[in-house]
């Protein structure tokens, strides 16, 4: 059987094509990785809490995603931000209101300042009902 040989020119051609293909694939992989990079999502400005009937009068529920406290009482629905207005720590709910564990700011149950260093009341979120009956929190 005659021995099959490859010409040097053919080998170089094949090797070049192979190298270009491998390089192209690697480059494509890098490009895809670059394009698929997802930056940190911005904090949600609107949160869907689901059906409003799940939040009857008497509800006091922490909405972790929005760092807010949803309150449904005789005055209606409202939500108070749990972010301290001093430096942004998460306040804790106490019997008398809210206390910041970082620097000791205290707020009433309605979010008004009782003790500094915070000087501004806790912010509020808008609470709305969507057309399909879901409860929506909107950052003001």
């Amino acid at each position: 059987m005659p021995e099959q040989t490859m010409k040097r020119r053919d080998f170089l051609k094949l090797a070049t094509q192979g190298l270009l293909a491998a390089g192209g694939l690697l480059g494509l992989g890098g490009l895809l990785r670059f394009l698929s990079f997802q930056s940190e999502p911005a904090p949600a400005r609107e949160i869907n809490l689901g059906a409003s009937i799940d939040y009857p009068i008497g509800t006091r529920k922490v909405v972790a995603e929005g760092q807010a406290l949803l309150i449904h009482d005789e005055q209606g629905l409202r939500a108070i931000s749990l972010t301290c207005t001093h430096l942004g720590c998460l306040v804790e709910e106490k019997e008398s209101g809210f206390t910041c564990p970082c620097h000791g700011s205290m707020y009433t149950r309605d979010g008004a300042v009782l003790r500094g260093p915070a000087t501004q009341a806790l912010l509020t979120w808008q609470v709305e009902q969507s057309a399909n009956g879901d409860l929506l929190l909107r950052r003001e």
Binding site: R9, L12, K13, A15, T16, L19, L20, A22, G23, L26, G27, G30, S39, E40, P43, T83, H86, L87, G88, C89, L90, P101, C102, H103, G104, M106, L114, R115, G116, P117
Partner: protein
Amino acid sequence: MTLRRWIFAASLLLLLALLAAGWQESRRVQAVALTPTLTSEVEYCLSCHADLPEISPSHPIETFGCVLCHGGERLALDADLAHSTMRGGRNPSEFSVVEASCGGEQCHSGSPELNRDHIQRATTSIQSTYAGAIASIRYTFGAQSDLTPRYGVSAVQDKTVISSKAVPELLAFDSTNESSPWIQKFGENCLDCHLSAQPREGDTYARLSGCAACHTPTAGLDIAPGETQLHRLSTAINYSQCNTCHNRGNYDLRSMTFTERTDQPADRLHDYYQPIAQFVRCEWTLDCIDCHTRSEAMGDGDLYGSKKDIQYTQCRTCHGTPDELPLTYTITSLEDLALRQAFLNPVIDLKVGDTILMTEKGEPLWNIRPLEDGTYELFAKASGQRFIFRPVMSSGCLQNPEEQASSACHQCHAVER
């Protein structure tokens, strides 16, 4: 070389370059993102520093992150690049950068009225300026005609001088400008105790500088780079932290050198004071900050030339005199400074309506309150231990009412060693 060979070589180089880039990428640390509430800007410091403990309950990482205080390149994953713009190296509380690191109206350079002027007070305090020692040495060796402070270890100004004993400005002391060889030697050998100085070598001197000199407990810790326990801030400061500067020996004015103490104290009684000093039980049982107030330790914002101008706590501050009980007041407002101090170091459950001791200057001794039986309870700020003590009044003390300085109390109450 033919065109085909050029193409082959270029293809080979391209592949090698891509492989090298991929290899480099695979070695890169896995990015861990954090977006602090206060800055709302993502930072990747936790990619390498997730093992660091939270520095204090007042500085949670979710709120502050790292870059706000430390500086640095928040998006860099390469260590050298990330650290290239850090403030103060590993210590952002160095006084040269502390305003950028810890300042701000809502943080530590706010108004005196709101008791947020920590940086102004600390950087003008005599522990920072060393103005008293410098003035004293310059006066002794004839470089100035009186003991008025003119120089500090660095230039500093006080725009609102309150005390008649204070000066508005200190120039930067430079011993090479002095003609006296003794003052020059003082500059070379004796300026390693102020708050901006790097400590002397040795475990007993191990401390950081700036705010961290006092507020980062280092006693017994290895302060070499990488020591994660150094990532801590506290207002519960043990006496041993003060001892990294104090009670370590003496400056010998004859040779203008520091003479290290040579004794090997085995207990607190012998650890606390130099052999020549008189002291009473409070001083070797309690910690320095249990008696000395915030203004004594950190200054009151004025520039003084002697510790006697700022240090005023005496035995009578807590014990009263044969004729008078110590001063007290009842907390009536949630904004009272005592409540804030007790919040930061909760060794005592303090609330509005509680009566506590106060100094003659009106500073709250928030860790001490009178009891119904006429005694007083003190909660040690560093250990939380509860002590009960009596007032001098009705104790049978025979002290002359006109001699109420602590030195007079020491005549009877000093401890023999």
